[in-house]
Symmetry: C2
Subunit: 206 residues, 2 copies
């Protein structure tokens, strides 16, 4: 694709670095911005720059935050002895959106992945153990993805937590709510058979 | 979707204005930028801003350009008496990419669309007729999309060009190269029957 203008080309190349954005989509973005008032591009440009320069990591849970302590960690109504361990802020938001969690978070910033060269030292694992040692923590909930990397990271953390003698739980795996059994994959269905639970526990308490 | 940081929220909202980008995709972009070096966000932000403030319209063909006259219009090797009329710079690039066109362009900047309140006066149509009157033009090729708006605009232009007594041609419509007849829609197949051409004209001259 040959672009007749260098200004457009440079903007297209920069936008095409975004995940899932090819040059064609980037050009669509650029033409859209050019059709809009210049003020829109100004605010977009400024908000990206402010984001990158002003964002902080919460000094307690390492989630992205506007301040040195995030909204969740600074909220006295949350249960600070219950820590939910997540991969990144997206998973934190997913847990928050359930409305079922009243504890606090710990954001690892990734998962252990030898293939990508991400070892435990690149994640906020030392910070998690220190946090557990220096505070009264009742339970650590692993809310990690049900992938190889998620399981590896979970098991590594579980062994660390065992040394600290702390209760560790993990999200239950099983049939998604609303799913047909015939369309569930064998592994999920098999695990939900093995991990079957007393029926009375499934009755939602109101 | 509740976003815990205002900086992230503002960046997400701005990115979600881009066509085809929802808040979820915008958040993915934001997290990607935050994982990258700050310099990437800086160059992205700057190139968007430069694009919007420094880009010009070519004073001859009204395509987007870095200078007051675009690369095509300033090229003495192009045939300046053959004008290809296109909707926007994307279509100009599509025609350029064929490598089959040695003339110059005229970018309308849109199509006539009463539904969207776009009348002929909002397009570079007056500029086109003036350009034809003030220069020696042999032929105008309509390379407009095969949609209702494209056809409307094409017919409007055709009538204007008739007043100027100039040769007007349009892109041929028909079966796409490589297409199976059974999958072609009836209207396209019907038109390509009506507009059938002498076989010898289809033999590519090398």
């Amino acid at each position: 694709m040959e672009i007749p203008s260098r200004l457009i080309e440079s903007a297209v190349n920069e936008l095409a670095r975004l995940p899932g954005v090819g040059k064609r989509t980037a050009l669509r973005f650029v033409l859209h911005l050019l059709r809009q008032d210049a003020v829109h591009t100004g605010t977009l440009s400024e908000s990206l720059l402010r984001l990158r320069t002003e964002i902080k990591y919460c000094s307690i849970c390492y989630s992205l935050s506007d301040d040195t302590i995030c909204n969740v960690c600074s909220n006295p109504l949350r249960n600070h002895s219950l820590i939910c361990v997540v991969e990144d802020i997206r998973d934190m938001m997913a847990v928050e959106n359930t409305g079922q969690f009243k504890g606090v978070f710990h954001v690892l910033g990734g998962l252990i992945s030898p293939l990508e060269g991400i070892g435990p030292e690149k994640l906020k694992i030392k910070e998690l153990t220190e946090r557990i040692q220096n505070n009264e923590i009742d339970e650590v909930i692993m809310a990690l993805p049900a992938t190889v990397e998620g399981d590896t990271t979970g098991f590594f953390l579980f062994r660390k937590m065992q040394e600290l003698n702390i209760k560790v739980t993990t999200l239950s795996k099983g049939i998604a709510v609303g799913d047909q059994l015939e369309y569930a994959d064998e592994i999920t269905l098999g695990r939900s058979l093995i991990n079957r639970i007393p029926y009375e526990e499934t009755i939602v308490k109101t």
